[in-house]
């Protein structure tokens, strides 16, 4: 059996009275690519945001690399160093150049010498195919370029798990492909990935497991062939027919 890197057991979370995550169980093995879909408000973003503690869960257990997420800041820091995250709105730092955006965390968190951090940053910019934008500011880039910088920024910390929270939802259609291409390349290199997305083409290409969430629960979890060809629950069927035929 291969190594378990993320484990969620009976995770529950509330926003005041609103029950966003209900008894969520999930286990992710090293190198697995998991695509999570579901209607808005189903808790899919919240679930992956709990994995690096951008949100705190109230009940249950989340273990990443054998470290349990609690209020202990040391554990949180440890986990965040190994878990990268890409956001829907890119969240690049607008006051820093592209290169500074990427080298910031290696310099300050990993205490890497500036020169080395910048060399590494450049190598990741080459990987996402925009080394020529290094000196620009985020506001001068297109959405697709910004999202690729955001991916490079995460990768520069050399994480072994990457979380993607609807990475292409804020992009114009013609820019989606350039971001997905980078993600596919990353998947081929063996990165463990949890991706919240509605890009079903991407899901079919890379996913090992599909997860469908609704109203805070994991309704269905299956291999892609089965998930798309033979979904079990009616809720999944309805959802798939809506997003595949629009």
């Amino acid at each position: 059996m291969s190594e378990q890197v993320i484990q969620l057991e009976k995770v529950n979370k509330w926003y005041d009275d609103f029950h966003v995550l209900k008894d969520v169980d999930l286990s992710v093995e090293k190198g697995q690519k998991i695509v999570i879909c579901g209607p808005s408000g189903s808790g899919k973003s919240t679930m992956i945001r709990c994995i690096n503690r951008l949100e705190a869960h109230q009940e249950g257990k989340i273990v990443v690399h054998g470290t349990e997420l609690t209020n202990d800041l040391k554990n949180i820091d440890l986990i965040r160093k190994n878990v990268g995250m890409v956001f829907q709105q890119f969240n690049l730092f607008p006051h820093l150049s592209v290169l500074d955006n990427i080298s910031l965390a290696p310099i300050w968190v990993k205490k890497m010498p500036k020169k080395e951090a910048e060399e590494i940053s450049m190598s990741y910019l080459e990987k996402v195919k925009i080394p020529e934008q290094a000196e620009k500011f985020p506001g001068q880039l297109s959405g697709g370029q910004q999202q690729r910088v955001a991916i490079a920024r995460s990768l520069a910390m050399n994480p072994d798990i990457m979380l993607f929270d609807e990475p292409t939802s804020a992009l114009d259609p013609e820019m989606i492909k350039e971001v997905l291409d980078v993600m596919i390349q990353l998947a081929e290199e063996g990165m463990t990935m949890l991706v919240v997305t509605h890009e079903m083409g991407f899901a079919k290409t890379v996913a090992d497991q599909m997860i469908f969430m609704d109203e805070g629960r994991i309704v269905e979890q299956a291999k892609p062939e089965e998930f798309f060809n033979n979904p079990k629950s009616d809720r999944t069927k309805l959802f798939l027919s809506q997003i595949l035929n629009h």
Binding site: L54, R80, F87, N91, F93, H95, V109, M157
Partner: protein, 370 residues
Amino acid sequence: MSTSAIQNISHNKYYNWLFRNLFSSWVNTLLTIIALIFIYQVGSFCLNWAIFAADFRYNFQGELITDRGLCSKNIMPGEYGACWAIIYARWDQFMYGLYPIEEAWRVNLVYALLPLAIIGILFDKIPFRKYFIYFTFVYPFLAYFMLYGGPGLSVVGTNKWGGLLVTLFLGVTGIGLAFPLSILLALGRRSKMPIIKSLCVVFIEFIRGVPLITLLFTANVMLPLFLPDGVNPDNLLRALVAVTLFQSAYMAEAIRGGLQAIPRGQVEAAQSLGLSYWQTTRKIVLPQALKIAIPPIVNTCIGLFKDTSLVLIIGLFDLLGIGRAALADMTWTKLYYEVYVFISLVFFIFCFGMSRYSLYLEKKLKTDNI
């Protein structure tokens, strides 16, 4: 294109502007003419009073003016304007207060070094900026040593300080000390730690709810009560404490406005990269928040700089206090306009400078990025 053709075009542009904005209809033309007459009347009166019909050091008979009776306007009432001789006569007091005049070079040196001390903070693209910044941190100690004295320099008590020296001391030190304090207060007010948060809220709301005059009185009368026996900070220091606290509360609110404008995603991105709270604050949140908060911060600085004149009610002689003292002198009494116009001008120069700088900074930061 020939030079004259270019000139013609720019002339045309000029006339077009005039026509469109000032003479586009007959109502507009009439208003323009009335406004011009008004500006001319007021302007010529002011210039005449302040410069052309004014006495500087000598009156119209060529005598050195040594008391108000020798002012031209008091010899020939109605024909002459300002009598600036009072400013010349009291110049040293306006600049140094009662600072011993043979030691005034020390104050002059501190004045002269002030621009060097702040230039490194104000502008980022100057050569040797690093060394200017070092000097910024050395300057307060150097300035205090020069002004107060110590080994090798005779001690001049702060009760002898006055005029522009007190105004600048309170204004510059007050702003300089309040800035870091206000950042901590603003961060504290947004902190998730309940005790720190309530301390900051109570402090800010208390200080903002009380007039500066009250704080000055409180500092003057009550501060000694809170301190151990024998520790008796002088008046100027007490005023400085009051002014700093006052300024920090207002500046904290300005900065909080900036902090609130930073999208949550910025902090989340920094956290997801593993940056600590202080790293996130220093590298991501504050640079963006302070940029947004520049106009209100400068606003409070200008307000504070002018409010330093309130210290005259606790017996300190700032610029305004020195002016009033000059007017109380029988030799010069009743030259109100001259004194107040002069004081206003000095305040105006500093405040206008701050205002211009904030505009420059806003423009610069806008083009720099985004």
